[in-house]
Amino acid sequence: MEFTQLWDKLNKRFPERLTLATESGDKQIQVKVDDLIAVVDYIKNDSALAFNFLRLISAVDTGKEFSCVYHFYSYQHAHGLILTVSLNRANPTLPSLSSRYATADWLERECYDMMGFNFLEHPELRRILLPHDWDGYPLRKDYQQPAEYHGTKH
Amino acid sequence: MNDFIQSLFGPNGVNVWIAPSSTWLLATILFTGAGIVVFVWVALMSVIGTYAERRVAGYMQGRLGPNRVGWFGVLQPIADGIKLLGKEDLIPAGAAKWLFRLAPILVFCGVLIPYAALPFSPRLVVSDMAVAIYYILAFEALEVVGVLMAGWAPNSKWSLYGGMRLAAQMLSYEIPMGLALVVIVLFAGSLNFQQIVAWQQTPMMGIEDPNILGWGIFRSPACFVAFFIFFIGGLASAKRAPFDLPEAESELVAGYHTEYSGMRFAFFFMAEYGAMYLVSALTAILFLGGWYGPLPLPEGISPASLVELWNTNTAGQESFWSACQAFISAPVVLTTAGAELIGFINLAGKALILFFTMIWIRWTLPRIRIDQVMHLCLKVLLPLSMIAALGAAIQIVIMN
């Protein structure tokens, strides 16, 4: 299914709550935080869309604001979709998709570990890559490297 | 005093060449000497074993084994041994100190003690017991106690797993292995190795001197099946190849000898190769005709004890030295020594061939799981060995 048909179908389902991102490259659909769950349920369970494969969750810090980008793909219809959710810098919280896609569990833990996003109702939101007593979220633009860790100078 | 020694060490003690009926002190000295000889033999087996294992593994894997340390890498096991001697004597903090020290000793004794009954050639045996097979199987269980101790003592989870696995494995391979021996004992009619090999020399199906055909395997289909059951049980008892679960390299880090280092680990190492030679020699004697092998034995003289041999051949010699020379050059002694040597070559040759197959099996087959070991031994080998024993009994009843 071409991106334009996808966009029309989604727009019909969610009138004027979705906006089309303008950058070049892959087409992204901007979604608000509170109707993220509704959109994801729709695109997962609708037979014509059937996005059953959550490919990637990436946490992005564009210097001004945070955004969380979801890549979906459907094995039956062989088409992809990209959703972006923008969050405020002070308290980036968004609902967790781990109940719908099992892979979201680890991917969201990594976003929390790297960028400090707080996913609601995530089964166990704790650091996955960095040691548990590491302070700060390294992928933020304003992150300073720690001087030393457990006594070992940098 | 005489009958006490004879009762202890065998019915026809008279032909035991190294236990002449003399004072108790002489017996102890001679037996410690024999013990040292056997210890040197087990150490030699572990030296040959490590060298053969690494060279054969290298050859089978398309690479060269150790070949730079000394001539063709022959000094490699010696270098390993000295290095292990020089390592730090390390006992983990949480370990049960005494059990930790005792375990390798027990494991090594569990392998060394059965060598007392194992003949190297017709008369070259430490003590020719009437109950040799029973003695060997009994003391092999001592090794298992040692490994369980080694598993529990260092208070590490991996060695605990190794010890538990060996307990499960020992329970499952002992019974079919024992039943496989029952088949041979039924035919040979005795537990003594001399009788068993003598049984394999008796004429069979009209052939007067069945050199190779007389071997245990070809005696009857029951023995043929018992051979394979016994060898598989032997592999499991020596913790080799598909059954090396107690020290599974890829699962349990190093199984029961995870926490052992230095000379204690060397004891486990020597015990493993000692057990390998013990099992292969045992299989060679019971099923492959022992010293009655491909090379024909020269007509040995009737069994006579060393002392009797000494008196007849050195009568009338003044000095002790000339008596020795006369004794050595006496024709009857030469033929006996010749028989010993050829017997030794036959037996050791067969045992080393089985030794090589164990190494060969190790570097080809993957490891099986612990419940599959129990399934194989209890649900497959056990009924098979029972049928073999039944078949043997029926065959004996029919034959006479």
Binding site: L56 | G62, E251, P366, R367
Partner: protein, 389 residues
């Protein structure tokens, strides 16, 4: 003989319930240093004797801050870092990154460079599957297949040495093409390798695939249903072994893969159920044959022409984002690149196939023996470099 774990666990529970058999579950640390954890993976296993109740994989021991570095260095400097992610198939990682950047720049790549990239990527796939074959045999206790696998892999490494000068991390695919051309000698070496690989492939089968003990240790173990595989985001041989015939080289062809015909091996459950450990192993072995076919076709129809496009010294990508998935030996690997017309990327996020493949370990390791946990993790064929990034 499938060990009936549910019945066994229930018996143990009601025995302990009656109070006469007090069993305690212990936490075993298959720690970061373990012969069969393929690198620095820590598996905390909650076991009841040999039976595993839970297995919690802990990663992050090799987190080398790739994404922070990718934001701090220019586009061209990132390529050597992509080599060090999945260090067993580094050609494929660099290819995935370079294709993403070229797609964002909308530049045309010469056909010869595309064909060379396909040859080199498939050769590296074979090398990676040989390592997977060897280490999986090592996990089940067979030492010799590991050496056989490395013997063939050395042939590939010598080819790569002539091409790129390095044995393991090549920095060979560059933005705009490849570093060096395939001359006659290298083409002859590749054909010789294809011949030896076809001759020794049955040897591997005789050694491991048809081995009864190997089949008993890997059939019906670690079965992953198709929905579980998709829900946990499994990709690559693990997904195809579950019966989902999805291969990015066919579904979303890149770098002229559409010009070659090859089929996608999927799990049929020949030795046990569909997508048990044996199937994952067998899918990888069949993929070696498929890759040989691709290399042969690519070598035969190698077009003439340039191998590298002329590009400005400082690359400034147009503002925008791109995600181009590629078929890595372990699964779908792609780089989500966001650029805003600067010499350095705003954000580069990498999809690591092993990261998602590993996340299913806790679900399928329940009620199996400790030896099977090792077999399951071995069959998933994970590389810690790309999990921890």
């Amino acid at each position: 003989m499938a060990l009936n774990t549910e019945k066994f666990i229930s018996q143990v529970n009601d025995l302990s319930a009656q109070g006469n058999l007090h069993t305690e579950e212990i936490l075993v640390n298959m720690g970061p240093q373990h012969p069969s954890t393929h690198g620095v993976l820590r598996l905390v296993i909650q076991t009841d004797g040999e039976l595993v109740a839970q297995a919690f994989p802990q990663v992050g021991f090799l987190h080398r801050c790739f994404e922070k570095i990718a934001e701090s260095v220019t586009y061209r400097q990132v390529v050597p870092y992509t080599d060090r992610l999945d260090y067993i198939a580094s050609m494929n990682n660099a290819l995935a990154y370079v294709l993403g950047v070229e797609k964002l720049m909308q530049i045309e790549i010469f056909p010869r460079a595309q064909y060379i990239r396909v040859i080199v990527a498939e050769l590296n796939r074979i090398a990676s599957h040989l390592v997977a074959f060897g280490t999986y045999g090592l996990d089940l206790g067979a030492f010799t297949p590991f050496l056989y696998g490395f013997r063939e892999r050395e042939l590939i490494l010598s080819i790569f040495e002539e091409l790129s000068g390095a044995r393991l991390l090549y920095h060979y695919p560059r933005i705009g093409g490849v570093a060096k051309d395939i001359d006659a000698k290298i083409a002859a070496d590749i054909r010789a390798f294809i011949k030896t690989m076809r001759r020794t492939w049955p040897e591997y089968n005789a050694l491991l695939t048809e081995n009864q003990i190997f089949i008993k240790r890997s059939a019906n173990i670690g079965v992953i249903s198709a929905e579980n595989a998709i829900s946990y985001g499994l990709t690559g041989p693990c997904l195809r072994a579950s019966g989902v015939a999805f291969d990015i080289r066919k579904a979303q062809p890149y770098s002229s893969y559409e010009k070659f015909d090859f089929n996608i091996p999927t799990g049929q459950g020949t030795k046990g159920q569909v997508c048990d450990c044996w199937d994952r192993y067998w899918v990888r072995m069949c993929e070696i044959q498929e890759s040989l076919k691709i290399i042969e076709q690519a070598l035969d129809s190698l077009p003439e022409g340039e191998i590298r496009a002329k590009l400005p010294a400082v690359l400034k990508l147009p503002a925008g984002n791109v995600y181009l998935p590629c078929e890595n030996p372990r699964g779908e690997l792609g780089f989500f690149i966001i650029s805003d017309f600067q010499p350095k990327a705003l954000r580069i996020k990498m999809r690591a196939p092993s990261f998602c493949n590993l996340s299913i370990v806790n679900k399928i390791c329940r009620g199996v023996l400790v030896a099977d946990v090792v077999a399951i993790v071995g069959s998933l064929d994970i590389v810690l470099g790309e999990i921890d990034r």
